[in-house]
């Protein structure tokens, strides 16, 4: 009982798991939002209620009737939208605010923004309702065609099996066709029903929960190895139950831990998702009623599948736990074992994420640790892999693998637990450590002080792993919030065509476009908007003394302006947090190692070392800047290369930047924006470095920089207004400050200056303390 209590009831571990559960639930809610604001939360709740109501009202009706109902809903939303944006065409159904409010009286968020006359929020709300209805429509189309789909699989298999193009008799291709037809035959006659699947679908999309599950398993396994770290291994091994019996007990703990992890990181997010989106009553439907399971050949209800899924999740956790336990337990050197485990996980993730499905090696993709991490994919994807010419379903393969590898690693772990001795072990990896170290020493002997600082940061302080995490974490960032509506589409298309300096050719273009638009109301409406814009730009350029250009405000708004405010802040918060965490160990590591008196007694151990540390912090900041903002540049270039065609135009051509105090081109504006972000991020890095100097060890340093720099930034991004004054987030994001300067407000310079002063000041104090003694 003692070991159970030590591992599962340890207050620190319990606290960590509870914190992770909260974070997991919080991130799930955030994943549902386009922006992290209370307004967005309200919008989502309102859209969910809207969908829930429609589902309840329409349930049981014929699919064609339901499709017509969704179209009517789209029409209703579209009418209000047209009126709001001032469209004018003959069939306009709404002509006043009263009529618009009456038309959407059951949609409180729409009414709210119509009354408030907030165009940005109105468009977003409209898009949310529109998309929710589009999802319902798509589900109806799927359900109405599912029977035909199943039949088409059978007939297609029959047809293709008679064609020599699809392989010879006895080949994998031919066998695969037969197997697919056979698997899907069992689904013939399955009844699919319309219902609310949004809770289930959003939960399935939330893969982060799987990583929390993995992390929880790692935490539990690390608890098994605590005795090694604390030097208690010989003592534990010398006790009566300290060997095989301890191994068996720990296996039980691992199973219990996996159950707990499954409840916290799979079951709870599902419950949360269902309570947000509704759909409890629809769990008795056949699994194939949910489009995601269209190719799942199991005849189950959603509820039966969930029970089966959670059982598989628990067993997957045990298997992953056994594997990690084996790797960490069999290698004596803790750092080496972690490196081996890290490499193994990285390779497995690489194969899982990047190996194409069509690859001849695709078995490595599905016979993979991460197939056991993302277990839902085993049910939502139908694929047979080639096993010596025979098609084997990835689900069957993974489940058989789970049983086989579970037994294998279980036996290996018990063997290690029983026979591994604390002292005198010379495992294979330890044996190769010496020649590896010898070779590395040859390289390391050439490192300069700066080189050593980089080496320490990357290798000893696990900077490489953190940087890999930075790359992964920033890969999930959004850069643009696009709300291109059908009405905007034509306007955007015209601007796209006309983009460039305004000249007589512009007027000719409009005249020609009017002719070819004939009596298409939508096109004419868009051309009216274009013409108005051209006039405004001409007038403004004449007054300001610069060349007028057609530049689409929208492109800059969604990339760098007000429309992307929350995205910009969230990305900046991520950049601040990641920079702070990367830099946090730089000084604390020296203190933890206890080498500071020695370093400070060396001639190059003060100013020179300090300069190298500051340089390392700056380079790490540049790395994060690259991951977040260079990636943003590429993203913008990929999304809308039009921005790059306007780089030589004056920024004052944009409405929002009409009063910009400097006569800049867009190219210069963007260069300043990215340089400002870089400088501010370096400032954050140097501040974190200074804080690190006062921390006794790396762990404390992580916590303190996260609390001082990262947390206020995250809270600002989450909408807690007060923290914007005490966090470097706004100056790092920079876009909103530059945008503010566009409105002529010079006070926007203040946050940059303040945080520049904080960075320089912190560095100055740290330098003084390190170089002058204490």
């Amino acid at each position: 009982m003692g070991e159970w209590k030590r591992v599962l009831l340890d207050p620190k571990r319990l606290f960590l798991l509870a914190l992770m559960a909260l974070l997991c639930a919080g991130l799930f809610v955030l994943s549902l939002l386009d922006e992290i604001t209370p307004t967005e939360l309200g919008r989502m709740a309102s859209a969910n209620a809207y969908v829930d109501r429609c589902v309840e009202e329409w349930r049981g009706r014929p699919y064609d009737e339901m499709e017509a109902l969704t179209e009517a809903e789209h029409q209703r939303l579209g009418d209000v939208f047209d009126w709001y944006l001032g469209a004018s065409y003959e069939e306009m159904r709404i002509s006043s605010e009263e009529e618009a409010i009456a038309a959407v009286a059951d949609l409180p968020e729409m009414v709210r923004w119509i009354k408030a006359r907030d165009t940005r929020e109105f468009i977003r709300t409209y898009t949310t309702y529109w998309d929710a209805m589009a999802e319902l429509k798509s589900e109806m189309i799927y359900l109405s065609g599912y029977e035909d789909y199943l039949e088409s699989v059978q007939s297609q298999a029959e047809r293709q099996s008679q064609t020599s193009l699809f392989g010879k008799e006895g080949s994998f291709t031919r066998r695969n066709l037969a197997k697919t037809a056979e698997d899907f035959k069992s689904l013939l006659g399955v009844e699919v029903e319309f219902g609310n699947s949004r809770g289930l679908l959003n939960w399935l999309d939330y893969e982060t929960g799987d990583y929390f599950h993995l992390l929880a398993i790692i935490i539990i396994v690390l608890a098994f190895l605590e005795e090694r770290k604390k030097g208690l291994w010989p003592a534990v091994r010398a006790t009566q139950g300290g060997r095989l019996r301890m191994g068996v007990i720990r296996m039980g703990i691992l199973l219990a831990g996996s159950v707990i992890a499954t409840v916290l990181f799979s079951v709870l997010p599902l419950l949360l998702s269902m309570s947000i989106h509704g759909g409890w009553g629809d769990l008795a439907r056949s699994l194939q009623s949910v489009e995601r399971f269209r190719t799942c050949p199991l005849r189950l209800t959603v509820m039966e599948w969930l029970v089966r899924f959670f059982a598989v999740k628990v067993l997957s956790g045990v298997l992953i736990g056994l594997l990690i336990w084996f790797v960490l337990g069999v290698i004596s050197n803790p750092q080496f074992s972690i490196s081996v485990l890290g490499t193994l996980l990285a390779v497995e993730y690489g194969l899982y994420a990047f190996l194409p499905v069509q690859s001849a090696l695709n078995m490595l993709k599905y016979f993979n640790i991460f197939a056991y991490v993302h277990t839902s994919a085993l049910y939502t994807e139908y694929l047979n892999v080639d096993l010596f010419g025979f098609p084997i379903g990835i689900r069957i393969l993974a489940l058989c693998g789970m049983a086989g590898f579970g037994l294998l690693f279980g036996a290996l772990v018990l063997n290690t637990q029983r026979n591994r001795r604390p002292e005198g072990n010379r495992d294979v990896l330890s044996r190769i450590a010496l020649p590896v170290n010898r070779a590395l020493d040859r390289v390391r002997s050439r490192l300069t002080v700066a080189g050593w600082e980089g080496y320490k940061a990357l290798i000893f302080q696990y900077g490489v792993l953190l940087m890999a995490l930075v790359v992964l974490a920033t890969g999930g960032l959004n850069y643009l919030y696009a709300t291109v509506t059908s009405e905007d589409r034509w306007y955007e298309a015209y601007l796209d065509d006309m983009e460039g300096p305004i000249s007589e050719a512009t007027d000719d273009y409009i005249v020609k476009a009017r002719k070819s638009a004939a009596d298409n109301d939508e096109l004419l409406y868009a051309l009216d908007r274009v013409e108005r814009r051209v006039e405004t730009l001409r007038q403004r350029a004449e007054e300001g003394g610069y060349s007028p250009w057609i530049v689409d405000d929208y492109d800059y708004q969604i990339g760098f302006g007000d429309m992307s405010l929350n995205t910009q802040r969230f990305n900046a918060a991520a950049a601040v947090m990641l920079t702070a965490l990367l830099v946090a160990p730089l000084w604390a590591f020296e203190r933890q190692a206890g080498v500071t008196p020695m370093l400070r007694s060396a001639p190059g151990g003060r100013r020179k070392l300090f300069r190298r540390k500051a340089l390392t912090a700056a380079l790490l900041s540049v790395f994060v800047w690259g991951c977040v903002y260079v990636r943003e540049m590429f993203f913008v270039a990929q999304y809308d290369s039009r921005i790059f065609a306007t780089l030589t135009a004056s920024v004052r051509n944009l409405d929002a930047l009409a009063s910009f105090p400097l006569a800049l081109t867009f190219g210069q504006y963007l260069a300043i924006l990215y340089v400002l972000r870089l400088v501010m991020l370096i400032g954050v890095g140097e501040t974190a470095l200074a804080v690190s100097l006062f921390c006794p060890n790396v762990r404390v340093s992580y916590v303190i920089v996260a609390v001082l720099l990262g947390l206020p930034a995250l809270l600002t991004a989450l909408g807690v207004g007060f923290f914007r004054w005490v966090s470097p987030l706004v100056p790092v994001a920079s876009a909103e400050l530059l945008w503010g300067l566009g409105g002529g407000s010079l006070i926007c310079l203040l946050p940059w200056l303040v945080w520049l002063a904080v960075g320089v000041g912190a560095l100055w104090i740290a330098r003084r303390i390190w170089c002058k003694g204490n």
């Binding site: 002080v449 008196p597 190059g604």
Partner: protein, 245 residues
């Protein structure tokens, strides 16, 4: 070559760790004896400028060491009392890294590293991570880094702690050799280490220098009625007479 401390004072809150401490070191080995908290490590930390002094001056050949800055630290070799070491570095890497901080480069660095690892008898351990070394071996690594760069002032805080008798004798002989053209300050609790090699023994109590003289003189100055700890008078008797409560 002269290292001179004049009226040096250091206070930790209410505690006066060194009070008007004055001493002059010239070439040779200085064994520093004192109970825990007597001020030995504080004195060493002041010489290495790892802590700030509250008063007095420390000069090297007449120049204030704080003004000399890195020039003075270039003459220093310091082995601290605590075994602070990068556990992930190999022995060779660690010593090379400190060599870099001491300003050594290229062949001079490589030759210096080879030499001190040989002197500290660490050649067999040069590619092993320091975290995997025993306490005694770590002690030798710290000694090796202190010796690197041919320092004129060598400050060794408990250099033989954790070493086996054979290794202690070896290190002692080696320190004796080193002292010919440098100042060696050696603080230890192992009185016998000092007795055999120190040219001068300093007795420090409550932050004050009680006595400084060659070991023989200190022993000879003991009262006639002093009962020896072992069968003849030794430096341990001096320690107990002056510093024992």
């Amino acid at each position: 070559m002269e290292l001179k401390l004049t009226n040096v004072q250091k206070r930790y809150g209410q505690l006066l760790a060194l009070r008007n401490f004055s001493v002059t070191f010239e070439r040779g080995i200085y064994g520093i004896l004192g109970a825990n908290g007597a001020g030995k490590t504080t004195m060493m930390n002041l010489i290495t400028d790892n802590i700030k002094r509250d008063g007095g001056s420390i000069t090297f050949d007449g120049r204030e060491i704080l003004e000399m800055g890195s020039e003075f630290r270039g003459l220093l070799g310091y082995m601290p009392q605590q075994q602070g070491i990068y556990a992930n570095m190999t022995t060779e890497s660690f010593v090379t890294y400190i060599g870099r901080l001491k300003g050594l480069k290229g062949k001079k660095l490589a030759a210096g590293v080879d030499e001190v690892l040989e002197l500290a008898n660490l050649n067999g351990m040069r590619h092993k991570k320091t975290g995997l070394l025993s306490g005694g071996m770590k002690q030798r690594v710290l000694l090796a880094q202190a010796l690197l760069g041919d320092p004129k002032v060598l400050i060794l805080d408990e250099p033989t702690a954790g070493l086996d008798p054979k290794e202690r004798v070896r290190i002692r002989a080696f320190i004796k050799e080193l002292a010919e053209d440098r100042i060696v300050l050696l603080a230890t609790h192992i009185v016998s280490d000092i007795e055999s090699i120190a040219d001068q023994v300093m007795l420090i109590k409550n932050g004050k220098l009680l006595r400084m003289a060659p070991p023989d003189e200190l022993i000879a100055a003991l009262p006639k009625d002093w009962e020896p700890v072992a069968h003849h008078l030794s430096l341990e008797d001096v320690y107990l007479y002056y510093l024992g409560e």
